[in-house]
Symmetry: C2
Subunit: 246 residues, 2 copies
DNA sequence: CGTTTAGTTGACCGTGCTCAAGGGGCGTGG
DNA sequence: CCACGCCCCTTGAGCACGGTCAACTAAACG
């Protein structure tokens, strides 16, 4: 794949899909056209999808961060995953009757929205595209399994370190990492809800990570000072992200 | 779908897929034939798949219980999901390079194994089959998300109650529930690893569920005495299982 | 300049873990 | 037939990780 001079918001999507399956020039053009059809923008803290909505549209995240989350009746919130630039939200989701969770923005977000017929037309253009989309879903299950073990069997420090390692790897693929640093726009409340911790304990855990020199977090910018050490502390193994082409 | 007189191990699979998409007679016949191609049997405590294996075969669980699990380096185990009769393990998984978790049997298990070409032929017979298989994957992500919130934001009693409610609903679909009772072949160690608890604390939690009259667990048989109350205690909402046809 | 939001700190407490020991059922071998 | 070992379950005691409540600071914003 060659992104060429025709750079735009959709490049993150192309990089993600091309990481799953080698895309032909024709496929790249088809994806570009589909993504450009309807581009939307939202502020931070908005819901793109609410639990219980009918599942209809496919969304491509072009810039900014979003998250999937669920709430319990009594207000407890769990962020169950991050949606980063290049991610495609729920290919083929219209096969189910309704959504089982919500999607909220963590920052200002630019995304593309495809209605079902549009999406189906895109899928039909090329078998590689369909396969790359299926890979996106398979990787998503895999990530979700890793989150399950993260919350079930890792302690606070390991959990937070693991979340950070995952973000680093996923952002790398789409070129959003600068050396060992990347923009980290989340609040501590968000990170706590992703780690299954209280904000108070998350704060202390972050301080532990900082004071041990593993990370530097300042002005919404996170630097991993020693990725090896952080990985080891988190028992992080990037295989579950399935970022490599088969 | 009419299962007819041609009853066999594959009926659980047919019931599951038919719950996702209405299957034609031809589709039913094609699935039956595919499943019967290669049927295998294993004892309890065996691994069908090991983390790191190449992903090649698609498996249909016909009878018995299995689980997906991951281990941390230091031996901590987390069961990240159950595989019950009628479940299909990872349709299209061969699109990825390797498996990210292991699959182990909890009981004696009968399953069918399809090589990639066989599986692809089955998928090609009918668009409904492909859609039903995709639904299986989409439901799996959804279940995995619910497990994430279960471990991240529910306390011990709620977690265990939730796992039990899920098993009840999933077993119902394939006709493995008798009134409010079902065979419950897991050990407490398994259930602890699924709930993210220690065996000691799981044991005490189970006793709490028993003494409060919510469940009866005896001789590997579990009875839910008051499903409404158990649901409420778990904050269980079956939507995430996507058991209903669209 | 007042209000809101994010981050930080202290004190206390409770859920759930660890370690350790013991009981019951069952299969195996002497 | 009994002895032994193994697996699964159960119970007790002590402790620690992480939660809760509350107060305070700093930055951002109108």
């Amino acid at each position: 794949m060659n992104l060429g001079v025709d750079a735009g918001y959709e490049n993150a999507v192309l990089r993600r899909l091309d990481a799953a399956r080698r895309l032909s020039e024709a496929s790249v053009a088809a994806i570009r056209a589909a993504v450009r059809e309807k581009i939307l923008k939202t502020g931070p803290g908005e819901d793109l999808v609410c639990e219980g909505d009918r599942a209809e549209k496919i969304r491509f995240l072009l810039s900014g961060w979003a998250c999937r989350y669920k709430m319990l009746e009594d207000g407890r919130r769990q962020i169950v995953g991050f949606i980063l630039p290049g991610n495609i939200c729920d290919p083929f989701i219209y096969l189910l009757s309704m959504t089982d969770h919500s999607i909220g923005t963590l920052t200002q977000v630019v995304y593309s929205e495809l209605e079902r017929p549009h999406f189906e037309r895109l899928v039909a253009t090329d078998a590689t595209i369909a396969e790359a989309l299926y890979c996106e879903t398979l990787a998503e299950v895999s990530i979700q399994r890793e989150w399950t073990i993260n919350l079930g069997r890792r302690d606070a420090l390991e959990r937070v370190a693991h979340v950070i390692c995952e973000l680093f790897e996923r952002l790398s693929v789409v070129g959003l990492v600068d050396g060992n640093s990347f923009a980290f726009p989340m609040t501590q409340t968000d990170l706590a809800d992703a780690s299954g911790l209280s904000t108070v304990h998350l704060n202390r855990t972050l301080q532990e990570l900082r004071s041990s020199g593993l990370i530097t977090l300042r002005d919404r910018n996170l630097t991993i000072n020693d990725f090896q050490a952080l990985s080891a502390a988190a028992m992080f193994n990037p295989n579950y992200l399935h970022l490599n082409r088969k």
